[in-house]
């Protein structure tokens, strides 16, 4: 990463934009920009909803509460549509996922050079502002969801029930190794597909913004304006997909055969 930092021209520009601000070596590297921006956006999310929740009234709601309630009803509807059990966790989890990912993705709509420019004024060599273009961020979320899937599978079905499901489905006990392989792939594919889908979409989107930024100035608005509008759809859609799949996976974990 840091090795290409001094490359010149278009390639250098792109690589510079895609390099995170980092400290440490090897596995113990920390992407400070990802950590900072996701925590800040998480704080924004918490602050907004907390201020709505503190003044929550069953009477006439103010604007903040109305907006928060709109999101809550939306998420609750999604949860009710696919999850039929009773869980205190799933709906707040889905709300957090949706809002947090949306805010991450929203960072993509800032012009690609503005925040890195501010960063360089403050002496930061690199700054990658969109947390969802960092595999660590998307995998952290999908692995957390995966842990919850495993936890609930075992909790609802019991260890033996879960093991039975892994071994005897879908083809019965005679094809046990094949079943096991199939099921393991299926389970492991869940977090990987969740993380890679979000990462891929946002990384590609960011890359296209960077490429547009390389064009002459008079061409940039012509291209970046439609792409930004299209991106508004994408960032919402990706947040929505991640949330809905999380709900679906967790409701599958709750279903006892």
């Amino acid at each position: 990463m840091a090795t290409e930092a001094h490359a010149e021209g278009a390639t250098g520009y792109i690589i510079h934009h895609l390099t995170p601000l980092h400290v440490g070596e090897g596995f113990w590297t920390l992407h400070l920009d990802t950590l900072f921006f996701s925590a800040a956006l998480g704080g924004l999310f918490i602050w907004f909803f907390k201020s709505a929740a503190e003044k929550a009234t069953s009477g006439v709601p103010n604007l903040v509460q109305s907006f928060a309630e709109m999101l809550i009803e939306f998420v609750d509807q999604q949860v009710k549509d696919s999850f039929h059990g009773h869980s205190k966790l799933i709906a707040p989890l889905a709300l957090t996922i949706f809002c947090w990912i949306f805010l991450w993705n929203f960072m993509d709509l800032f012009p690609v050079d503005i925040l890195p420019l501010v960063g360089s004024m403050m002496g930061l060599e690199y700054l990658r502002v969109v947390p969802s273009t960092d595999l660590n961020a998307t995998f952290a979320m999908s692995i957390s969801v995966f842990c919850l899937i495993i936890f609930y599978s075992i909790k609802i079905k019991g260890p033996w029930g879960f093991a039975k499901e892994l071994m005897f489905q879908p083809f019965g006990p005679w094809l046990l190794p094949f079943n096991l392989l199939l099921k393991l792939v299926e389970e492991i594919a869940k977090p990987i597909s969740l993380a890679l889908r979000l990462f891929g979409n946002l990384y590609a989107g960011e890359l296209i913004f960077i490429l547009i930024a390389l064009l002459p100035w008079y061409l940039q608005p012509v291209l970046s304006f439609p792409w930004a509008i299209f991106h508004i759809l994408i960032i919402t859609l990706q947040a929505f997909i991640f949330m809905v799949l999380t709900i679906v996976y967790l409701s599958m974990a709750h279903e006892d055969h």
Partner: protein
């Protein structure tokens, strides 16, 4: 593009966010939503009930008005009947009074006729006597001939 310790940091942040949402954000907002839903449902039910009550009251009022109309018609009828009766009564009374007056008048006439006849008789008797006196040329002693006089007078009557 490598997976590193950032993953752990992100997982911790995510866990904290989810915990906070679950504990402090979802319940109050969701409760307020539910409460408002209940309030609205109650309000609608109350409105429906009010409407129903209004319909009932309207019906009742109509009945009352109808009854009042009936009663007033009855009262008018009775009054008319009473008036007719009064008229009949007074007619009867008038007729009776008239009859009585006619009878009294007739009696008086009778009496007057009688009186006139009596007077006439007496006059005729006096006349007869005076004529008889002249014819006889002598005085008739009224005391002596009282019997004759009254006989004649009776015959004349």
């Amino acid at each position: 593009m490598s997976i590193n310790a950032t993953l752990i940091g992100q997982m911790i942040t995510f866990t904290l966010l989810v915990w906070f949402t679950m504990k402090y954000i979802w319940p109050p907002l969701f409760d307020s939503l539910e409460e408002r839903r209940k309030k609205i449902a109650d309000g609608l039910a109350a409105a429906e009930k009010g409407q129903e009550n209004m319909h009932l009251a309207e019906k009742k009022a109509k009945n009352v008005i109808k009854e009042a109309k009936n009663q007033s018609a009855e009262i008018v009828n009775q009054a008319q009947k009473r008036a007719n009766e009064l008229i009949e009564e007074s007619k009867d009374l008038g007729k009776k009074e008239g009859d009585r007056m006619i009878l009294a008048a007739k009696a008086q006439i009778e009496q007057e006729i009688h009186q006139a006849r009596e007077n006439l008789r007496q006059e005729v008797a006096a006349l007869a006597f005076s004529a008889a006196e002249k014819i006889l040329g002598a005085e008739i002693d009224k005391a002596k001939h009282h019997d004759i006089i009254s006989k004649v007078s009776n015959q004349l009557g």
